[in-house]
Protein backbone atom coordinates (compact mmCIF):
# COMPACT_ATOMS: atom_id res chain seq x y z
CA UNK A 1 0.00 0.00 0.00
CA UNK A 2 2.60 2.56 -1.04
CA UNK A 3 -0.19 4.66 -2.56
CA UNK A 4 -0.54 6.34 0.85
CA UNK A 5 3.03 7.60 0.87
CA UNK A 6 2.65 8.66 -2.78
CA UNK A 7 -0.51 10.59 -1.81
CA UNK A 8 1.46 12.32 0.97
CA UNK A 9 4.13 13.32 -1.57
CA UNK A 10 1.44 14.75 -3.87
CA UNK A 11 -0.03 16.81 -1.02
CA UNK A 12 3.41 18.07 -0.04
CA UNK A 13 4.28 19.15 -3.60
CA UNK A 14 0.90 20.91 -3.84
CA UNK A 15 1.54 22.76 -0.56
CA UNK A 16 4.94 23.85 -1.84
CA UNK A 17 3.57 25.16 -5.13
CA UNK A 18 0.33 26.91 -4.10
CA UNK A 19 0.30 30.09 -1.96
CA UNK A 20 -1.03 29.31 1.53
CA UNK A 21 -4.08 31.59 1.14
CA UNK A 22 -5.21 29.56 -1.88
CA UNK A 23 -4.95 26.10 -0.35
CA UNK A 24 -8.74 25.93 0.10
CA UNK A 25 -9.24 26.85 -3.58
CA UNK A 26 -7.36 23.88 -5.01
CA UNK A 27 -9.89 21.85 -7.00
CA UNK A 28 -8.04 19.50 -9.31
CA UNK A 29 -4.55 18.00 -9.22
CA UNK A 30 -3.60 16.41 -12.52
CA UNK A 31 -1.28 13.45 -12.55
CA UNK A 32 0.37 11.47 -15.31
CA UNK A 33 0.90 7.88 -14.29
CA UNK A 34 2.53 5.30 -16.50
CA UNK A 35 0.89 1.89 -16.76
CA UNK A 36 4.13 0.39 -15.53
CA UNK A 37 4.59 2.73 -12.58
CA UNK A 38 3.16 0.13 -10.21
CA UNK A 39 0.55 2.55 -8.87
CA UNK A 40 -3.10 1.59 -8.54
CA UNK A 41 -5.16 4.73 -9.46
CA UNK A 42 -8.16 3.80 -7.30
CA UNK A 43 -5.99 3.12 -4.26
CA UNK A 44 -4.18 6.41 -4.83
CA UNK A 45 -7.45 8.37 -5.04
CA UNK A 46 -8.74 6.62 -1.93
CA UNK A 47 -5.54 7.42 -0.02
CA UNK A 48 -5.49 11.02 -1.19
CA UNK A 49 -9.14 11.62 -0.26
CA UNK A 50 -8.46 10.14 3.17
CA UNK A 51 -5.49 12.37 3.99
CA UNK A 52 -7.14 15.63 2.82
CA UNK A 53 -10.43 15.05 4.62
CA UNK A 54 -9.71 17.32 7.58
CA UNK A 55 -7.53 19.84 5.70
CA UNK A 56 -7.94 23.02 3.65
CA UNK A 57 -7.49 20.82 0.57
CA UNK A 58 -10.66 18.83 1.23
CA UNK A 59 -12.30 19.98 -2.05
CA UNK A 60 -9.34 18.88 -4.17
CA UNK A 61 -9.63 15.84 -6.42
CA UNK A 62 -7.05 13.88 -8.33
CA UNK A 63 -7.37 13.59 -12.10
CA UNK A 64 -5.22 10.74 -13.35
CA UNK A 65 -4.10 10.33 -16.94
CA UNK A 66 -2.78 6.83 -17.57
CA UNK A 67 0.18 6.76 -19.94
CA UNK A 68 0.64 3.65 -22.11
CA UNK A 69 3.94 1.94 -22.78
CA UNK A 70 5.90 3.26 -25.69
CA UNK A 71 9.15 1.63 -26.53
CA UNK A 72 11.77 1.92 -29.23
CA UNK A 73 13.55 -1.14 -30.57
CA UNK A 74 17.30 -0.95 -29.99
CA UNK A 75 17.78 -3.03 -33.14
CA UNK A 76 15.61 -1.52 -35.89
CA UNK A 77 14.39 1.70 -34.26
CA UNK A 78 10.67 0.88 -34.58
CA UNK A 79 8.50 2.70 -32.01
CA UNK A 80 5.59 0.71 -30.56
CA UNK A 81 2.74 1.52 -28.19
CA UNK A 82 1.43 -1.26 -25.98
CA UNK A 83 -0.79 -1.67 -22.95
CA UNK A 84 1.50 -4.27 -21.42
CA UNK A 85 5.01 -4.04 -20.12
CA UNK A 86 5.95 -6.96 -22.30
CA UNK A 87 8.06 -5.31 -24.98
CA UNK A 88 8.72 -7.19 -28.18
CA UNK A 89 9.42 -5.28 -31.37
CA UNK A 90 6.59 -6.16 -33.80
CA UNK A 91 8.90 -5.33 -36.69
CA UNK A 92 11.93 -7.53 -35.97
CA UNK A 93 11.02 -9.55 -32.85
CA UNK A 94 13.84 -8.07 -30.76
CA UNK A 95 13.21 -7.80 -27.00
CA UNK A 96 16.03 -5.36 -26.35
CA UNK A 97 14.06 -2.14 -26.28
CA UNK A 98 14.28 1.28 -24.73
CA UNK A 99 11.19 2.34 -22.79
CA UNK A 100 10.12 5.84 -23.80
CA UNK A 101 6.92 6.24 -21.76
CA UNK A 102 4.87 4.24 -19.28
CA UNK A 103 6.96 4.59 -16.12
CA UNK A 104 5.87 8.15 -15.26
CA UNK A 105 4.71 9.17 -11.83
CA UNK A 106 4.36 12.90 -12.36
CA UNK A 107 2.23 15.74 -11.09
CA UNK A 108 1.54 17.98 -14.07
CA UNK A 109 -1.02 20.67 -13.15
CA UNK A 110 -2.87 22.12 -10.21
CA UNK A 111 -6.17 23.85 -10.92
CA UNK A 112 -7.21 26.61 -8.55
CA UNK A 113 -10.58 28.31 -8.34
CA UNK A 114 -10.42 32.04 -9.15
CA UNK A 115 -11.20 34.58 -6.46
CA UNK A 116 -14.27 35.57 -8.52
CA UNK A 117 -15.30 31.99 -9.19
CA UNK A 118 -18.32 30.41 -7.57
CA UNK A 119 -17.73 27.94 -4.79
CA UNK A 120 -18.24 24.39 -5.89
Amino acid sequence: MHELSIAQNILEITQNNVPTDEWNKVRTIRLKIGKGAGVEPEALEFSFNAIIEETLFKKARLEIELIPFTFQCNNCGEITTNNEFFAICPNCGNTNVKILTGLELNISEIEIEDKTGKQL
Binding site: N17, G36, A37, F86, N96, I99, L103, N106, E111
Partner: protein
Protein backbone atom coordinates in the same frame (compact mmCIF):
# COMPACT_ATOMS: atom_id res chain seq x y z
CA UNK B 1 -10.11 28.63 -12.81
CA UNK B 2 -6.39 29.25 -12.96
CA UNK B 3 -3.89 26.53 -13.58
CA UNK B 4 -0.42 26.09 -12.15
CA UNK B 5 1.72 23.93 -14.42
CA UNK B 6 4.45 22.17 -12.50
CA UNK B 7 5.52 18.93 -14.24
CA UNK B 8 7.31 17.42 -11.26
CA UNK B 9 8.06 13.87 -10.28
CA UNK B 10 5.84 12.86 -7.39
CA UNK B 11 8.75 11.05 -5.73
CA UNK B 12 11.28 13.81 -6.44
CA UNK B 13 12.09 14.18 -2.74
CA UNK B 14 12.96 10.49 -2.51
CA UNK B 15 15.02 10.75 -5.70
CA UNK B 16 16.97 13.73 -4.31
CA UNK B 17 17.88 11.85 -1.13
CA UNK B 18 18.71 8.75 -3.19
CA UNK B 19 21.10 10.90 -5.24
CA UNK B 20 22.79 12.01 -1.99
CA UNK B 21 23.10 8.38 -0.89
CA UNK B 22 24.51 7.41 -4.29
CA UNK B 23 27.06 10.21 -4.12
CA UNK B 24 28.15 9.01 -0.69
CA UNK B 25 28.50 5.40 -1.90
CA UNK B 26 30.54 6.48 -4.93
CA UNK B 27 32.76 8.80 -2.87
CA UNK B 28 33.37 6.04 -0.32
CA UNK B 29 33.76 3.41 -3.09
CA UNK B 30 31.10 1.24 -1.46
CA UNK B 31 29.37 -1.15 -3.86
CA UNK B 32 25.71 -1.14 -2.80
CA UNK B 33 23.00 -3.62 -3.70
CA UNK B 34 19.29 -3.47 -2.95
CA UNK B 35 17.89 -6.97 -2.48
CA UNK B 36 14.21 -7.29 -3.35
CA UNK B 37 11.79 -10.20 -3.55
CA UNK B 38 8.40 -11.35 -2.39
CA UNK B 39 8.23 -12.48 1.26
CA UNK B 40 9.84 -15.88 1.76
CA UNK B 41 11.83 -16.07 -1.49
CA UNK B 42 15.03 -16.32 0.53
CA UNK B 43 16.59 -12.86 0.81
CA UNK B 44 17.93 -13.42 4.31
CA UNK B 45 19.12 -16.96 3.51
CA UNK B 46 21.01 -15.73 0.43
CA UNK B 47 22.41 -12.96 2.61
CA UNK B 48 23.63 -15.47 5.22
CA UNK B 49 25.28 -17.61 2.53
CA UNK B 50 26.88 -14.53 1.00
CA UNK B 51 28.24 -13.41 4.37
CA UNK B 52 29.63 -16.88 5.13
CA UNK B 53 31.59 -16.80 1.88
CA UNK B 54 32.66 -13.19 1.66
CA UNK B 55 32.92 -11.70 5.15
CA UNK B 56 36.59 -12.62 5.54
CA UNK B 57 37.48 -11.38 2.06
CA UNK B 58 35.74 -8.01 1.92
CA UNK B 59 34.33 -5.57 4.47
CA UNK B 60 30.54 -5.79 4.45
CA UNK B 61 27.78 -3.85 6.19
CA UNK B 62 24.07 -4.66 6.16
CA UNK B 63 20.89 -2.60 6.31
CA UNK B 64 17.83 -4.76 6.71
CA UNK B 65 14.23 -3.59 6.43
CA UNK B 66 11.16 -5.27 7.84
CA UNK B 67 7.63 -4.22 8.61
CA UNK B 68 7.97 -5.56 12.16
CA UNK B 69 10.57 -7.31 14.36
CA UNK B 70 14.37 -7.39 14.27
CA UNK B 71 14.48 -11.15 13.62
CA UNK B 72 16.49 -10.68 10.42
CA UNK B 73 19.09 -8.49 12.14
CA UNK B 74 19.43 -11.16 14.82
CA UNK B 75 20.20 -13.71 12.09
CA UNK B 76 22.88 -11.40 10.66
CA UNK B 77 24.43 -10.31 13.95
CA UNK B 78 26.16 -13.66 14.48
CA UNK B 79 28.47 -12.83 11.57
CA UNK B 80 29.96 -9.99 13.60
CA UNK B 81 29.57 -7.32 10.94
CA UNK B 82 27.82 -3.91 11.15
CA UNK B 83 24.06 -4.32 10.76
CA UNK B 84 21.22 -1.83 11.16
CA UNK B 85 17.61 -3.01 11.28
CA UNK B 86 15.01 -0.61 9.92
CA UNK B 87 11.51 -1.38 11.18
CA UNK B 88 9.05 0.39 8.89
CA UNK B 89 6.02 -0.09 11.20
CA UNK B 90 3.60 -0.98 8.43
CA UNK B 91 5.18 0.70 5.44
CA UNK B 92 5.70 -1.78 2.61
CA UNK B 93 9.06 -0.56 1.32
CA UNK B 94 12.27 1.18 2.28
CA UNK B 95 12.74 4.73 1.04
CA UNK B 96 15.91 6.73 0.53
CA UNK B 97 15.49 8.71 3.75
CA UNK B 98 15.22 5.58 5.90
CA UNK B 99 18.43 4.29 4.32
CA UNK B 100 20.15 7.66 4.74
CA UNK B 101 19.26 7.73 8.46
CA UNK B 102 20.51 4.15 8.80
CA UNK B 103 23.88 4.74 7.14
CA UNK B 104 24.38 7.96 9.10
CA UNK B 105 24.27 5.78 12.21
CA UNK B 106 26.86 3.33 10.88
CA UNK B 107 30.61 3.49 10.73
CA UNK B 108 31.23 2.93 7.03
CA UNK B 109 35.01 3.44 7.20
CA UNK B 110 36.63 0.76 5.06
CA UNK B 111 33.29 -0.82 4.10
CA UNK B 112 33.44 -2.16 0.52
CA UNK B 113 30.00 -3.73 0.17
CA UNK B 114 26.69 -2.52 1.56
CA UNK B 115 23.78 -4.90 1.19
CA UNK B 116 20.32 -3.43 1.73
CA UNK B 117 17.71 -6.11 2.30
CA UNK B 118 14.41 -4.48 1.37
CA UNK B 119 10.97 -5.33 2.76
CA UNK B 120 9.56 -8.48 1.14
CA UNK B 121 7.34 -7.05 -1.59
CA UNK B 122 7.59 -7.14 -5.38
CA UNK B 123 5.49 -4.03 -6.01
CA UNK B 124 6.32 -0.95 -3.99
CA UNK B 125 10.13 -1.13 -3.64
CA UNK B 126 10.36 -0.81 -7.47
CA UNK B 127 9.36 2.87 -7.21
CA UNK B 128 11.85 3.86 -4.54
CA UNK B 129 15.43 4.47 -5.56
CA UNK B 130 17.65 4.09 -2.49
CA UNK B 131 20.85 5.21 -4.21
CA UNK B 132 22.09 1.66 -4.77
CA UNK B 133 24.35 0.56 -7.61
CA UNK B 134 21.94 -2.20 -8.55
CA UNK B 135 18.82 -4.06 -7.55
CA UNK B 136 19.08 -7.81 -7.12
CA UNK B 137 15.69 -9.50 -7.42
CA UNK B 138 15.20 -12.97 -5.97
CA UNK B 139 12.47 -15.26 -7.26
CA UNK B 140 12.07 -18.73 -5.81
CA UNK B 141 11.04 -21.86 -7.66
CA UNK B 142 8.02 -22.33 -5.39
CA UNK B 143 6.56 -19.02 -6.58
CA UNK B 144 6.13 -20.31 -10.13
CA UNK B 145 7.26 -18.98 -13.48
CA UNK B 146 4.86 -16.08 -13.91
CA UNK B 147 6.24 -13.67 -11.28
CA UNK B 148 8.21 -11.58 -13.81
CA UNK B 149 5.05 -11.05 -15.87
CA UNK B 150 2.96 -10.11 -12.85
CA UNK B 151 5.53 -7.72 -11.38
CA UNK B 152 7.36 -6.43 -14.47
CA UNK B 153 8.58 -3.14 -13.00
CA UNK B 154 10.72 -4.91 -10.42
CA UNK B 155 12.30 -7.23 -12.98
CA UNK B 156 12.80 -4.35 -15.42
CA UNK B 157 14.60 -2.26 -12.77
CA UNK B 158 16.82 -5.06 -11.50
CA UNK B 159 20.28 -5.91 -12.84
CA UNK B 160 20.50 -9.38 -11.34
CA UNK B 161 17.96 -12.19 -10.96
CA UNK B 162 18.67 -14.94 -8.45
CA UNK B 163 16.41 -17.94 -8.94
CA UNK B 164 16.47 -19.47 -5.48
CA UNK B 165 15.32 -22.82 -4.00
CA UNK B 166 16.45 -24.51 -7.22
CA UNK B 167 16.54 -27.79 -5.24
CA UNK B 168 12.73 -27.71 -5.14
CA UNK B 169 12.41 -27.90 -8.92
CA UNK B 170 11.52 -31.61 -8.90
CA UNK B 171 8.71 -31.04 -6.39
CA UNK B 172 6.88 -28.23 -8.17
CA UNK B 173 5.25 -27.52 -11.53
CA UNK B 174 7.58 -24.60 -12.09
CA UNK B 175 9.07 -24.47 -15.59
CA UNK B 176 12.59 -23.09 -15.02
CA UNK B 177 13.23 -22.20 -18.67
CA UNK B 178 9.93 -20.38 -18.87
CA UNK B 179 10.70 -18.48 -15.65
CA UNK B 180 14.04 -17.37 -17.09
CA UNK B 181 12.53 -16.50 -20.47
CA UNK B 182 9.74 -14.49 -18.88
CA UNK B 183 12.29 -12.50 -16.90
CA UNK B 184 14.56 -11.97 -19.90
CA UNK B 185 11.66 -10.83 -22.09
CA UNK B 186 10.94 -8.12 -19.50
CA UNK B 187 14.63 -7.30 -19.14
CA UNK B 188 17.12 -8.88 -21.57
CA UNK B 189 20.07 -7.43 -19.64
CA UNK B 190 19.41 -9.43 -16.44
CA UNK B 191 22.34 -11.43 -15.11
CA UNK B 192 20.79 -14.71 -13.91
CA UNK B 193 22.00 -17.01 -11.11
CA UNK B 194 20.38 -20.25 -9.92
CA UNK B 195 20.88 -21.02 -6.25
CA UNK B 196 19.89 -23.26 -3.40
CA UNK B 197 20.65 -22.29 0.19
CA UNK B 198 20.04 -25.93 1.18
CA UNK B 199 22.47 -27.63 -1.21
CA UNK B 200 24.67 -24.54 -1.82
CA UNK B 201 24.23 -24.95 -5.56
CA UNK B 202 25.10 -21.73 -7.38
CA UNK B 203 26.19 -19.88 -4.23
CA UNK B 204 29.85 -19.83 -5.33
CA UNK B 205 28.99 -18.40 -8.74
CA UNK B 206 26.91 -15.63 -7.17
CA UNK B 207 29.50 -14.81 -4.52
CA UNK B 208 32.41 -14.80 -6.99
CA UNK B 209 30.53 -12.48 -9.30
CA UNK B 210 29.62 -10.17 -6.41
CA UNK B 211 33.19 -10.15 -5.08
CA UNK B 212 34.45 -9.16 -8.51
CA UNK B 213 31.95 -6.29 -8.71
CA UNK B 214 33.01 -5.09 -5.25
CA UNK B 215 36.69 -5.20 -6.19
CA UNK B 216 36.05 -3.29 -9.43
CA UNK B 217 34.31 -0.54 -7.45
CA UNK B 218 36.93 -0.49 -4.70
CA UNK B 219 39.83 -0.14 -7.16
CA UNK B 220 38.29 2.96 -8.77
CA UNK B 221 39.91 6.08 -7.39
Amino acid sequence: MSIITIERKVLEKNDQIAAQNREKFIQSRIFTINMVSSPGAGKTSILEKTLSQLKDKINIAIVVGDVQTDLDAQRIEKFGIPVVQIVTHGSCHLDAKLVQDAINNMNLDGIQLLIIENVGNLVCPANYDLGEHMKVVIASIAEGEDKPLKYPAMFRNASVLIINKIDLLAYTNCNLDLLKNNALRINPNLKVFQTSCTTNEGINEWCNWLEQKVNETWRKQ
